[in-house]
């Protein structure tokens, strides 16, 4: 069955971001397919590539990144949520003359159309927030 997962919450502040990741892992483990991850609102902070955590704590952003890469998932951060929250990819950094970028390369910035498309193409969409 084809799933998509929508994440509304920032990492660490709410349990739901970590819960979304555990659920997504279980979807894959049970032989289902993930059509898309969509990071919306504060959820975009999960795709920040600059996070540094103490050695005895889970780095949620890195865990998302590994999960996305190892399963070759389509991961989208909502453009209007991301840019104003300082989640910036290489293209945006170049276009706005910024010396830094913060978006994990495993996620792409795109519009809300990708959320609607996820609902249209998936058998189930599960949201965490």
């Amino acid at each position: 069955m084809i799933f998509s997962v929508v994440i509304y919450s920032a990492p660490y502040t709410s349990e739901s971001a970590a819960n979304a990741l555990r659920f997504s892992q279980a979807v894959v483990d049970n032989g289902h397919q993930i059509y898309r991850l969509f990071f919306f609102s504060d959820g975009v902070h999960n795709a920040n590539k600059l996070a540094i955590t103490p050695q005895d704590e889970q780095n949620l952003q890195v865990t998302w990144d590994s999960f996305i890469r190892s399963n070759k998932l389509d991961s989208v951060v909502c453009v209007s949520s991301a840019l104003k929250r300082g989640i910036i990819g290489a293209d945006e950094a170049r276009n706005h003359d910024l010396d830094s970028q913060s978006l994990q390369a495993s996620s792409n910035i795109s519009g809300l159309g990708q959320l609607v498309d996820a609902h249209m193409k998936s058998d189930r969409v599960i949201s965490f927030g």
Binding site: G111, V116, D117, H119
Partner: protein, 130 residues
């Protein structure tokens, strides 16, 4: 009032029901819910939009968020119809618990009973709930 609970009419169209449950401004949930619904309408899907719980406060007349540097949600409500979203509902109990009458509201909406809300959710393909 007779309610038409719209279901999918073709394999390419799905029925999306948005439940907007949050007061405006204090959090961005009202705006996020609205943005997602408008995007859905652009894709020519079938959209139901329901104001529930504190979400009914979004419909109060004479809102003006200029001084808190935010878009005024009450005005934005009119965009629902501009985007072709016609099934705009307000849940009956939420309205009554807040002493609201239809005259207090910025746009015209249909009143939805408890029972009809459950039917609407049941008959939808996707429910987005904020």
């Amino acid at each position: 009032m007779s309610l038409v609970l719209v279901k999918s009419v073709s394999p390419t169209k799905k029925t999306f029901t948005y439940l907007s449950r949050s007061a405006p401004y204090g959090s961005n949930r009202a705006q996020v819910c609205l943005d997602a619904a408008l995007a859905t309408a652009v894709f020519e899907q079938i959209v139901n939009y329901v104001f529930l719980d504190d979400g009914v406060y979004q419909l109060l007349k004479e809102q003006n968020a200029d001084k808190i540097f935010t878009k005024t949600i009450g005005n934005a409500m009119e965009t629902l119809e501009l985007y072709g979203i016609q099934n705009i509902f307000i849940e009956e109990n939420s309205l009554r618990e807040r002493n609201l009458s239809i005259d207090d509201l910025a746009i015209k909406v249909k009143i939805l009973s408890n029972k009809k809300l459950a039917e609407l959710i049941d008959s939808s393909d996707s429910v987005i709930n904020l």
